[in-house]
């Protein structure tokens, strides 16, 4: 059993405490926006926010989380896709296949929450998600566009 606070709602989940957060989200809670890519916290497809910090959920057992910690997933970043990062992504039509993009968006929102005006080097250092289609340059421009939005620093 685990008690988790996800997208503002505290839930009790009947699950082996060693289960990674990713699979609790996807399987127990039916929130499949957070993706499985590698299972070893390398690719970043599973990125969520834990207390505002971009965190890879595929190797994070739910036993390591407390109900006081605020978990935010792509489904909870905004109610309607209106977070500045999502808006920038829409304006620049960033995704290709799109599979890595929820993780990419969560990583970008986490970066902007900590660093409202990231430099190119900051972006390169902090956004280490893998995209095989090749959206990196548009991701970079979109992060800068979102940074220009005053709301970008709000914690998702």
């Amino acid at each position: 059993m685990a008690r988790l606070t996800i997208n503002g709602t505290t839930r009790d989940v009947d699950v082996d405490p060693e289960t990674p957060l990713l699979w609790v989200l996807r399987e127990q809670l039916g929130m499949t926006g957070t993706k499985f890519g590698c299972g070893i916290a390398v690719c970043g497809a599973c990125t969520v926010h834990v207390d505002g910090v971009a965190t890879r959920s595929c190797v994070l057992p739910v036993s390591a989380l407390t109900p006081e910690q605020a978990i935010v997933t792509i489904e909870g970043l905004s109610p309607d896709g209106s977070h500045p990062v999502q808006q920038a992504w829409l304006e620049l039509d960033v995704p290709q296949c799109g599979y890595c993009q929820p993780g990419m968006i969560m990583a970008a929102a986490g970066l902007l929450a900590a660093n409202p005006n990231p430099s190119d080097d900051d972006i390169s250092a902090e956004i280490t998600n893998i995209c095989r289609c090749g959206t990196y340059n548009r991701v970079r421009v979109a992060i800068k566009l979102a940074a220009a939005d005053n709301d970008a620093t709000r914690n998702g």
Binding site: D16, T19, P20, G81, Q86, C97, C131
Partner: protein
């Protein structure tokens, strides 16, 4: 305008009885939105390509798969262009492979590979849109009792100027569905396009930003169970045994199932529990006949082929061997390209439900008809008792076309649990160990160089693996694999060799290691472009001629090849000095029907490579959506440079050594260069876009590295070389 006689097959067959929405007894289990999309089944289609709802929604049916490349949007643009509808009302849906077969393949091919999604279907999808337009106009004209020729249409509004009457597509769609299709239609000249040819945003972006887009890995069905699988990692090996008792009591575990003679799957209530139990399952493998296979043994096999007497000829002019034997000066080099994994971000998966009467599969696939054929075979049922539902792909790159191993496995598991939907999802490790790998080849190039830098002879010997021999032997021509010679054949619209060399021999010593090869985005054009374009660069330097000028002399008879090369070179500022510390390289090739070139600007500091800037030029003949072409060109550098910088699957003990992204490194944001894309469609032909540019990424960069360091890198990946 082009007047086209309509073939009945591509949009008439079976349409009289068919309804839109495809709710013909199929179970579509998607979550709310998709289910709602599929619900309104009472709207008749105008023809196979177009359904128009009373609320003016235009549903364009798209047979090819969307895997990120933008074909969904491009094909819809082509239909909408001829349909003359309002683009704002356009949405899309996939017809199913079973429907296609039931309707005499009215949608043509479902295959989505070879950069063919648009170039192989632009004509008949446009005809479908044009025919629907004529039927809608005819319906309005009949209602008004006026000649159809007196009616006009713009953005889905039909008008009759003589009487001042107007109506809309949505209002006449029902009547139009009963109108006989026209015997011929007129297609627009591309210069008159208003929707096609425009840089429109993709139709499938919004749900990808919120997590709502459902991929195969995300599928949830009522009563569904989850399967994790391990197949024998040794090439040619088998499953020797497993101890199911060891895991049957683990939480959630329902079944442990052997799948054919190579794999074992654990089925549980959740995938995580299935995977956890599978990791605990004692499994023994029969390593099979290839346990001594290694990268070194494969290399030796290929090296033998470099000088072997027998080889298949791909291109020949004059007498290359004779000219080389008599040449005063020859230059020779050997290049090599390693195995690569597709590494789609979404691991392989498929969901199947089987009963003795019927089998259905939900799968992200590049070829729904291949999926259907494999599903039927694995199900032990006739094709008309099976169906495949396509889902957007989390990357394809060639892995999800010909190869449907995951469908075969999913159906095999589902057969053991009749009536229960089974979702099979591979781990990344399973994905890396069971690829259909980009084949490995080596290439020895020898040229005769004259006193003025003229290339009088060139022999290019490729040694290595044939994809077709393994995957599609029916495509072989007299034992020869023509795909080996992508970009290297003479006067071929798919990809001509761009240099005129009077004595030319390009041949292939086929050496097939027991590693399954596959079509990997860009296929053989990737390494062929490296071999040719780096070697041409070597010749230029050996001749003491600047590389662009050197190429110009050889390309006088290939103005379209040269045009993109000149454009890329101009774009990077080839004739101006590079910024301090930066160095440049260029490359060109023709492949997938398009002319492509790249110019790269790099610096190497203390052995550290930095790729600052790429300028890419592409001439695909016609461009349906320049914004999507730009994205494909940019993405091509991620795919091509990931391979050039890091990509390498190595074999040891008869299996691949890399199992995940920690050992199979790919390009990240920090090494991505700026990319400027020059799109220069010259018209008159339809070339592909998704793949060709990948091929020029590596040679442009490698040539720039030589300019920076004097080091000629001939074996990839670059991570194995010291540039200091």
């Amino acid at each position: 305008m082009t007047r086209v006689q309509l073939s009945r097959r591509h949009f008439v067959a079976g349409s009289a009885a068919a309804l839109g929405g495809f709710s013909l007894g199929f179970h579509v289990p998607f979550q709310a939105k998709a289910a709602a999309d599929a619900a309104p089944a009472e709207v008749p289609e105008i023809n196979a390509w177009v359904v128009i709802h009373p609320d003016e929604t235009v549903v364009v049916r798209v047979a090819r798969s969307e895997m990120g490349q933008g074909t969904l949007t491009g094909l819809a643009q082509l239909v909408a262009e001829e349909l003359e509808c309002d683009w704002a009302n356009v949405t899309t849906e996939y017809p199913t492979p079973g429907q296609n077969i039931a309707r005499d393949r009215v949608w043509g091919s479902f295959s989505t590979g070879g950069s063919r999604g648009i170039r192989d279907s632009h004509d008949y999808v446009r005809q479908g849109g044009a025919a629907a337009r004529e039927m809608l106009i005819a319906a309005a004209a009949a209602e008004w009792d006026v000649p159809a020729a007196e009616c006009q249409v713009e953005k889905g509004v039909i008008s009759h100027p003589g009487s001042g009457r107007t109506t809309t597509y949505g209002k006449v769609a029902q009547a139009a569905a009963a109108v006989s299709p026209p015997a011929e239609v007129q297609l627009k000249d591309p210069k008159d396009w208003k929707i096609a040819g425009q840089p429109l945003p993709r139709l499938d972006t919004r749900d990808k930003l919120t997590g709502r887009q459902v991929y195969g890995a995300d599928l949830v069905m009522p009563g569904m169970v989850n399967a994790a699988i391990k197949a024998c990692p040794y090439f040619g090996g088998r499953l020797a045994g497993f101890d199911a008792q060891a895991v049957t009591g683990m939480p959630g575990v329902q079944r442990v199932i052997q799948v054919d003679d190579t794999a074992v799957a654990v089925v549980a209530d959740t995938w995580w529990r299935a995977k956890t139990a599978l990791d605990a399952l004692p499994i023994t493998w029969d390593e099979g006949p290839n346990r001594d296979l290694s990268s070194a043994s494969i290399q030796a096999m290929l090296e033998e082929g470099l000088d072997a007497a027998d080889a298949f000829i791909g291109a020949e002019a004059g007498d290359a061997r004779g000219a080389l034997a008599g040449a005063e000066r020859t230059v020779s080099a050997v290049y090599a390209f390693p195995y690569q994994n597709h590494a789609t971000m979404e691991p392989m998966n498929a969901t199947a439900v089987w009963t003795p009467e019927r089998c259905e599969v939900w799968v992200p696939t590049q070829n729904g008809e291949s999926s259907l054929a494999v599903a039927a075979e694995a199900a032990g049922l006739p094709v008309d008792k099976c169906e495949v539902h396509k889902i957007h792909l989390g990357g394809g790159f060639g892995r999800r076309g010909n190869f449907q191993d995951y469908v075969r496995q999913a159906v095999g598991i589902a057969r053991e649990m009749p009536g229960t939907p089974v979702k099979l999802l591979w781990t990344r490790e399973e994905d890396m160990l069971h690829g259909n790998y980009h084949p490995t080849t080596r290439c020895k190039l020898t040229a005769a160089l004259g006193p003025d830098g003229e290339v009088s002879a060139l022999h290019m010997r490729i040694s290595g693996q044939s994809i077709l021999a393994s995957v599609r032997p029916e495509g072989m021509v007299g034992g020869r694999d023509p795909v080996v010679f992508q970009g290297l054949v003479l006067d071929n619209p798919e990809g001509s060799f761009g240099y005129a060399v009077p004595n030319l021999l390009i041949d292939h010593a086929m050496r097939n290691p027991p590693v399954p090869p596959g079509f990997w985005r860009g296929v053989n054009l990737n390494q062929n472009a490296i071999y040719v374009e780096c070697f041409i660069d070597e010749l230029a330097h050996a001749a003491g001629v600047e590389p662009l000028a050197f190429r110009r002399r050889l390309m006088a008879n290939h103005p379209q090849h040269l045009a993109v090369l000149e454009a890329a070179a101009n774009g990077i500022g080839w004739n101006e000095p590079a910024p301090a510390g930066r160095h440049r390289g260029i490359a060109q090739i023709m492949g997938f029907g398009s002319y492509v070139a790249a110019a790269a600007e790099v610096s190497v500091t203390d052995g550290q490579l930095r790729i600052h800037r790429i300028v890419a030029a592409t001439d695909p003949g016609h461009v349906v959506n320049p914004a999507q072409v730009e994205r494909q060109v940019e993405g091509s550098f991620v795919y091509g440079l990931s391979a050039a910088l890091y990509g390498e699957c190595t074999v040891s003990g008869g299996r691949m050594e890399q199992e995940n992204f920690d050992s199979y490194q790919v390009m990240l944001m920090d090494s991505m260069p700026e990319v400027e894309t020059i799109i220069m469609p010259s018209g008159g032909f339809w070339g592909g876009v998704g793949e060709p540019t990948i091929a020029v990424a590596a040679p442009a960069v490698l040539n720039a590295i030589f300019a920076a360091t004097g080091k000629r890198i001939r074996t990839l990946p670059l991570k194995n070389h010291d540039l200091a």
